[in-house]
Subunit: 372 residues, 2 copies
């Protein structure tokens, strides 16, 4: 891999009153860590905690309160990280009223400053629905990925959303203030030009690399073409402005902004056909995994650091052959945490640390491979 790659890992995690965990301490290996447990034992909650401290939000709920163990007042996540021998302790405390973060016991003033400290790539089973879901969910998917590596993107994207709200509010008024509309529209166009650029870049990046990843992951031969769909993507400032001006009548009738990056979409095709219509469930999962592996490279390119890979119940829906390929595809410079319901032969390898998880408590068994 890249010579300049900064090796980034989590040495250990501590959870208090987080979801099903009253009190958990777990040391992680720098390679692959597998958590084996039956349904409902807390496997996903562990990944959620890591995801949360990385993304300052959960992938499962919008309400932070849901993360606090019932009957408790607060939840706490502590992770001790190591980046090229530099150690850092990141803590998050979640109250009913809000949350705060600290780094090495110094409280972080702006919560968003925690973003980018640890980057994660998470795979979870139902996520393959993005291929058949609404354009909005596909946009969010890639906006989150771009935002992980670019604070500018997150900021400008937020700015665009506020402008869009203002513009739509204006369009709902009986008498529209044309001058204000023009000002807002011009600012919106500037943000859009930036956002479109980043969306084009990630699309090209994935398109160039996905083929190779799919070959490693799948035994079938199929190619994936990702296309960025946008009615404004190929326009410059003036062309966009004239589009918005000629749209004014339509927009005021619809009382909303009918064109722009808030209507963009991404298309995934195999042999010219949408993958959600042609590929099997297992194959779709492999495509999503191939994208996730490209996203590892994307984060490394942008941040010079490896993300941590979180694979929630990744083996289900895959046959043994594809399970083996998947484990083999994990780069050795990426710390990985996998959850699974059953001990599986693909883990029979000295480089993989195995944990048993039961009722949100963890047992490490030294003689694990032998016993099974």
């Amino acid at each position: 891999m890249n010579e300049k790659l900064q090796l980034n890992m989590i040495n250990n995690i501590q959870l208090n009153n987080f979801r099903s965990y009253k009190d958990l301490q777990v040391e992680l290996s720098k390679n692959i860590n597998v958590f084996i447990g039956e349904n409902g034992q807390g496997k996903t909650n562990l990944l959620e905690a890591i995801y949360f401290i990385s993304n300052i939000r959960s992938h499962r709920t919008r309400s932070d309160k849901d993360l606090i163990h019932v009957e408790d007042d607060f939840a706490r996540i502590i992770v001790n990280t190591e980046k090229n021998n530099k150690k850092e302790k990141i803590m998050c405390v979640i109250h009913a009223e809000g949350k705060y973060f600290s780094i090495n016991n110094n409280v972080v003033a702006k919560t968003s400053d925690i973003l980018g400290r640890i980057n994660t790539i998470l795979f979870y089973p139902n996520e393959t629905k993005i291929f058949s879901d609404t354009p909005s969910s596909r946009r969010t998917f890639f906006d989150v990925e771009i935002g992980k590596t670019s604070k500018n993107y997150t900021r400008i994207f937020q700015e665009f959303n506020n402008l869009l709200k203002d513009r739509n509010r204006l369009l709902k008024e009986e008498k529209i203030d044309k001058i204000l509309l023009d000002v807002i529209t011009k600012k919106m166009i500037e943000s859009q030009l930036f956002i479109i650029n980043e969306r084009k870049f990630i699309t090209e990046f994935i398109n160039n690399k996905i083929k190779n990843n799919l070959k490693k992951l799948s035994s079938d031969e199929f190619e994936i073409d990702m296309t960025y769909i946008s009615s404004v993507k190929d326009l410059n400032f003036d062309e966009m402005l004239s589009k918005y001006n000629s749209n004014i009548d339509r927009d005021s009738f619809a009382r909303t902004t009918t064109e722009g990056i808030h209507r963009d979409d991404y298309e995934f095709k195999t042999n010219g056909v949408e993958i959600s219509k042609y590929l099997s469930q297992g194959q779709t999962r492999l495509v999503l995994l191939a994208i996730k592996f490209v996203l590892i490279d994307y984060i490394i390119l942008k941040t010079k650091e490896n993300p941590i890979l979180l694979l929630d119940d990744v083996l289900s829906e895959l046959d043994l052959n594809h399970q083996k390929k998947l484990i083999k595809s994990i780069p050795n410079y990426v710390q990985t945490i996998i959850t699974t319901t059953e001990y599986n032969l693909v883990f029979k390898n000295a480089d993989i640390r195995k944990y048993q998880i039961k009722e949100s408590k963890i047992l490490i068994k030294e003689d694990f491979d032998v016993k099974q």
Copy 2:
């Protein structure tokens, strides 16, 4: 079970040019049939064919053309069914231009008349997303289930949708024809009273029975409460009319009908909390399965016939203990077809017929259990 239950089963299926199948013939056992194959071998396509002939639509694509094997002009599905010793041959031919059905070689004049000939209950992996998805997808989920057993429901529901479209078109006009609006609104209320009743009934039915099913399926103790959420559900005709009349200003400003059964939702809670926020992926799958098992009883109650149970990759995400419970929970009067990626010990039972599926061809191995 019910003494009057008519035993309903599929004796065999023939597929020509359907998805990945060029030419397939398969005999089914009246109990549990398991199709074992690696990813992308055609397992789901087989279930899709049965689902299609039962529901005259696919659960994976809106475009029937996608079902035709590439390079071919038409696809054909034939199933030979048996209902209390009465045999019936149901055929469907799908062209690029449309589709037609025949029963015992007599073409069915109205495609919708095929509905209800064979009822199916299908489970597929990504379907658990309905719990976190939009209200619209939950409405569709239950509307399809109610429609399976009631042609009236399907008809009246379609009628309501047409009225709603008419009303919204009217609301978009500069000068609204108040008399026409009143006529449409009154007809809409009548349809809604019927639909609400059926939606209430299925909610109560599921609520009463789900607890028992969950106990059989899950080793954890958790209860599920399903609630039908609707701003109009408890109103009679006059109350609804006065609600619509008082909404007219809001509706004309919004240019759409803001209240009604097209905004209904269903809520699923455990201990007062939305299940999508609290249950694990595996537990959510068990809840959905428990609902599917209730729906078997619902269909039997309404039609006096058992549906056919189609379980696509149902074992993944479940640990061995829950896999066993699931197989045990399948009633012996319900013909079942299960797909799976790997041979699994839970199938080691004389009552389960096992098929291997490879490149859309099927091998039945007599010595299956012994060999593995």
